[in-house]
């Protein structure tokens, strides 16, 4: 599903988190929103999800041509994975994943056997077969994140939004999950947007990288394009592409 974002502005009190941001995302793309903390990337993601509403200017959001700007999150059906998983602690893994089916109106709800099939399929996809009865508190961080993925994907959303999905995990787990995400995306071709401040992650996984700073998009392009042609000094410095010998900057050993 394609996403079109037009002129989105959002202020928190006096602080402008997003300034007239416009963006087009093609169907099936895997996009990274990359930027330092406070750049507005998470805000943008949450606005797309319907977890924040943009200020009432002319900003609009379209999912596949349909204007969803005024729709609430549960009407937009964008799968969302939170940084700290937000699993339902009082439900086991099975119930967490089945949740989006449980809340469907009776007429649309599939039979229990269909739900069971889907949950099992998802658990297999995230390599957690057999974990149905576990509680979130009995899982490791990486396992919880995989359950969060499965949960978000259960009812086949048309877009998947990930808020720093691997931020709370340690390095090895992060690498594995990154690889898994890329493979999963190649398989499913689901429009996916993820937010990160880690440029290695963004460059490794995404089809297209969008750099954000201070509420505006600084550059948008494939990893190679951005690397070779940084659009401005922010991009260059953020990616560590400058010539300055600042000991605190990331060193590019390419």
């Amino acid at each position: 599903m394609s996403i079109a974002i037009q002129n989105i502005t959002k202020r928190f009190g006096l602080h402008p988190a997003l300034r007239e941001v416009s963006l087009d995302i093609r169907e099936g793309e895997l996009i990274a929103l990359l930027g330092p903390s406070g750049s507005g990337k998470t805000t943008l993601l949450r606005v797309i999800a319907g977890l924040e509403f943009a200020d009432a200017r002319d900003g609009r959001i379209f999912f596949h041509g349909r204007d969803v700007t005024d729709l609430s999150a549960y009407q937009r059906k964008a799968g969302f994975v939170f940084q700290h998983y937000a699993l339902f602690n009082h439900m086991n893994v099975y119930e967490n994943i089945a949740f989006s089916f449980r809340v469907l109106p009776r007429s649309k709800r599939p039979p229990e056997s269909a739900i069971r099939e889907r949950v099992t399929e998802l658990l297999r996809a995230v390599q957690l077969e057999g974990y149905e009865k576990r509680l979130p508190t009995q899982l490791s961080g990486g396992q919880r994140q995989r359950v969060a993925f499965a949960r978000a994907l259960a009812n086949r959303p048309e877009v998947l939004l990930l808020d720093e999905p691997f931020g709370a995990l340690d390095a090895k787990v992060r690498k594995d999950l990154r690889r898994w995400l890329r493979e999963f995306h190649d398989l499913m071709r689901l429009t996916t947007i993820f937010v990160t401040h880690d440029q290695d992650e963004a460059f490794e996984v995404a089809d297209r990288v969008i750099l954000i700073d201070k509420g505006t998009i600084q550059q948008s392009g494939t990893p190679t394009e951005v690397r070779n042609n940084p659009a401005n000094s922010f991009v260059a410095e953020f990616l560590g592409l400058t010539e300055k010998h600042d000991p605190l900057a990331k060193s590019e050993c390419q």
């Binding site: 319907g50 977890l51 924040e52 509403f53 009432a56 005024d70 609430s72 999150a73």
Partner: protein, 274 residues
């Protein structure tokens, strides 16, 4: 149509909350206000400055203050002991702190009277020495201390638990002995919460009725509390007089509430973020 809230239910929850509070609190309060403002100023003034009433202010507000101070001392001690030390029975004591809060005021009232009345228990012990507790202001004082105790303990205890060990260790390394550490490092850190707790105890004591009215003896000019006078005015159908006194007490409560809010904000700013 721009919605401003993410989770659904704002209108319903706020609406219900306001409706409930409007019916239960605001309408009755306006009845009081109307009563006051439609009555005569002279009657109001006469009522609230009547000598017997003024005597009751001294009892209600004055003794509550003393009781709150005593609670400040014992409450901090209890909070310290419960927070810092381990000893058998600690959990029971910790649960008992809330007894004055959980026990019906009338039960507390007759129990305290039974203890301190001249022919029973402690009262009997002191009677031969000419010390009377029940039916005097001392009795009221004790009842008010009983009532306010949990407030100080429960306000100070979490703050003590949160005190970073490093503060005390640093003081020790710099040469302070235990008392100095307490006086210069620990106590100042606790002060906002102590004041908050004392204010809460005071606010509660000022309005207290059930626990006090039995042990007080209700002797005019000596041991009458203001709430009691409100009741007697109602019984005499002097609604305006009762409303006048009620208004005074409400204003006092409001002031205490505002002071307490201010102190709590101070408490939070000092102790909330490490």
């Amino acid at each position: 149509m721009r919605r401003r809230h993410i989770l659904p239910g704002f209108g319903l929850s706020l609406g219900y909350t306001l409706l409930y509070m409007g019916l239960i609190v605001l309408i009755p309060m306006s009845a009081l206000a109307m009563r006051i403002f439609s009555g005569s100023w002279e009657h109001f003034w006469q009522t609230v400055t009547d000598p017997r009433v003024v005597a009751s202010y001294r009892v209600s507000f004055g003794l509550s203050f003393l009781a709150a101070l005593l609670n400040g001392v014992f409450g901090v001690m209890a909070a310290w002991v419960l927070a810092r030390y381990r000893f058998p029975g600690r959990r029971i004591l910790d649960a008992m702190v809330d007894l004055p809060f959980a026990l019906p005021t009338a039960v507390a009232g007759i129990a305290l009277t039974a203890i301190y009345a001249p022919n029973d228990w402690i009262g009997a012990l002191l009677e031969p020495h000419g010390i009377r507790i029940a039916f005097t202001q001392i009795g009221i004082f004790i009842a008010l201390t009983f009532i306010g105790f949990p407030f100080v303990v429960r306000t100070v205890q979490p703050v003590i638990l949160q005190l970073s060990a490093e503060l005390e260790e640093a003081a020790a390394c710099l040469g302070a002995n235990r008392w100095q550490t307490f006086r210069r490092v620990i106590f100042p850190a606790l002060l906002p919460s102590i004041l908050t707790g004392v204010t809460l105890a005071y606010g509660r004591a000022v309005g207290e009725f059930g626990s006090v009215v039995f042990i007080a003896g209700n002797i005019p000019f000596e041991t009458e509390i203001t709430p009691l006078l409100i009741i007697s005015k109602l019984e005499q159908y002097d609604y305006s007089g009762a409303a006048a006194l009620g208004f005074v007490m409400l204003c006092a409560s409001l002031v205490i509430l505002l002071i307490s809010n201010g102190l709590q904000a101070w408490n939070n700013s000092r102790n909330g973020t490490a």
